[in-house]
């Protein structure tokens, strides 16, 4: 991740991250819509989704096109992180992160009003790490892998035909969890004012106010102060 200061704002998302994110948004949105059109085609009331996109055959082609875009984003991401940045990242999870994540989840679900202390929050908070590792790494690997098997089973001759039913189920479950997570991600990013600067940075010039960093990501603020000193 690129860091630095631009006046009273600091750079949160570099050009590469913003570009990756916008391409992910496009790919995920179209994959969800075309996936829903495929999954719900037999529900008469929802057939209009496929019809609107040019029919079920066209939807399949579109699903693959945006699947290819998603794979391209993943390839660029892996290349830049592994080859260019040599796995130097603040995204590696820690035990502290996990504790914080579950405490925040309990708070968001209304089980407790108490939020854990914020000093643990560095450049990436535990929610961001969860999104990256569980949804991004595990989820996308699963969806891309199962999607490829369903698209072209001949590429995977070692997967017996009897196993492909399970592959279909995994892909469908991936869609279910993916859509629920996406709803969660979009709803919570847009409805709560505490996250708004991050959204504005992701879709804007990539910077967030230093004041916001001080309040919400004290760990990162401390790092910034140290580097200033």
């Amino acid at each position: 991740m690129v860091e630095g200061k631009t006046g009273e704002r600091v750079l949160r998302w570099g050009r590469l991250e913003r570009s990756e994110h916008i391409h992910l948004v496009i790919a995920a949105a179209f994959l969800m819509v075309t996936g829903a059109a495929l999954l719900f085609y037999r529900v008469a009331e929802l057939r209009w989704i496929a019809d609107m996109l040019g029919g079920i055959a066209a939807v399949r082609v579109l699903h693959r096109v945006f699947g290819a875009l998603l794979i391209a984003v993943v390839v660029v991401h892996l290349f830049t992180r592994i080859v260019v940045r040599r796995l130097r990242s603040k995204m590696w999870p820690t035990v502290k992160d996990m504790r914080y994540f579950f405490a925040v989840a309990a708070n968001h679900l209304g089980w407790t009003e108490k939020l854990p202390p914020k000093e643990v929050l560095g450049f990436f908070d535990p929610i961001a790490k969860f999104n990256y590792w569980v949804v991004g790494v595990v989820g996308l690997t699963l969806q891309i892998g199962t999607g490829l098997v369903l698209m072209e089973p001949d590429w995977f001759p070692w997967i017996p035909a009897s196993m492909r039913g399970w592959v279909l189920l995994l892909h469908s479950l991936g869609f279910l969890f993916g859509l629920i997570w996406l709803t969660f991600h979009v709803a919570f990013s847009t409805l709560f004012s505490e996250y708004r600067p991050l959204v504005e940075a992701m879709f804007g010039d990539g910077t967030v106010p230093l004041e916001w960093v001080k309040e919400h990501l004290p760990g990162w603020y401390e790092e910034l102060e140290k580097s200033k000193a």
Partner: protein, 250 residues
């Protein structure tokens, strides 16, 4: 119903299927077990498998007809995302080629590994029990052609009781009565255990992955609605708390 104890392996059923459905012949080679062609394909919808065994009377040939089993509750029809597969009252499970989009979900879920995908047309093919003939009051082409009466066609219940009786008479086995929970519309009577003839060890219960998958559609809606509700409630409670803190402070 296919009574393998009456089958002589003449392959007339294979030829009849090709002729009635206008399917081209395939280039093949002589296999050591005489099965020819060796497998189903987009243009071969049935074939006779030759199984050689040493029995009480020395070496014996056993035959088995490999084809769509026309399940009573076909997993392929449930998995097909476009509803291209129909189970008809008379028994046939038929793929509507105009609707088929070639997704191969039916290939993935068939417990008997029957449907075959054709790369050239991008569609899936299999035996349709000559539904076009049945509609006209005729027997399937293979049944009409069988010279020994190994194949017969009729009402499922009548055939099932006949198949049970025959299996008991020859002291053999009945395949298809209770596979895939509700059974199939094709019954195979064999002298050897079905597995020894290469018949798939099909599950007796409905494939679990399809049963689970059927919950995905409603669960997706419920999940999305639940998240939106949660988000809405959280906004509401946060707002309430802010108002309360504000009024408390004043």
């Amino acid at each position: 119903m296919y009574d393998s104890t009456k089958c002589i392996g003449c392959r007339a059923c294979q030829v009849a299927c090709k002729r009635w459905n206008d399917l081209p012949a395939e280039k093949t080679s002589l296999s050591p077990d005489w099965t020819n062609p060796p497998d189903l394909s987009p243009v071969t919808w049935n074939y006779i498998r030759f199984v050689g065994k040493n029995g009480e009377n020395g070496f014996e040939w056993h035959f088995v007809s490999v084809r769509c089993m026309h399940c009573v509750d076909p997993p392929c029809a449930r998995a097909c995302p476009v509803g291209a597969i129909t189970k008809y009252e008379e028994g046939p499970v038929v793929i509507n080629q105009e609707k088929c989009i070639g997704c191969r979900y039916c290939v993935a879920v068939c417990p008997f590994e029957v449907p075959r995908y054709d790369k050239a047309t991008g569609k899936v093919y299999k035996c349709h029990m000559c539904y076009d003939r049945i509609k006209e009051g005729l027997e399937p082409a293979c049944v009409a052609t069988c010279p020994t009466g190994a194949l017969s066609f009729g009402d499922r219940e009548t055939l099932l009781s006949r198949a049970r009786e025959r299996a008991s008479t020859v002291n053999g086995y009945l395949y298809g009565a209770d596979e895939i929970e509700k059974g199939t519309s094709v019954f195979i009577v064999t002298k050897l255990p079905p597995a020894e003839l290469g018949l798939p060890d099909a599950p007796k219960t409905y494939p679990l992955y399809l049963s689970i998958r059927e919950y995905v559609r409603p669960l997706t809606g419920v999940g999305v609605a639940a998240v939106l509700l949660l988000a809405g409630l959280r906004v509401l409670f946060t707002r309430k708390r802010e108002v309360a803190e504000k009024s408390g402070g004043e």
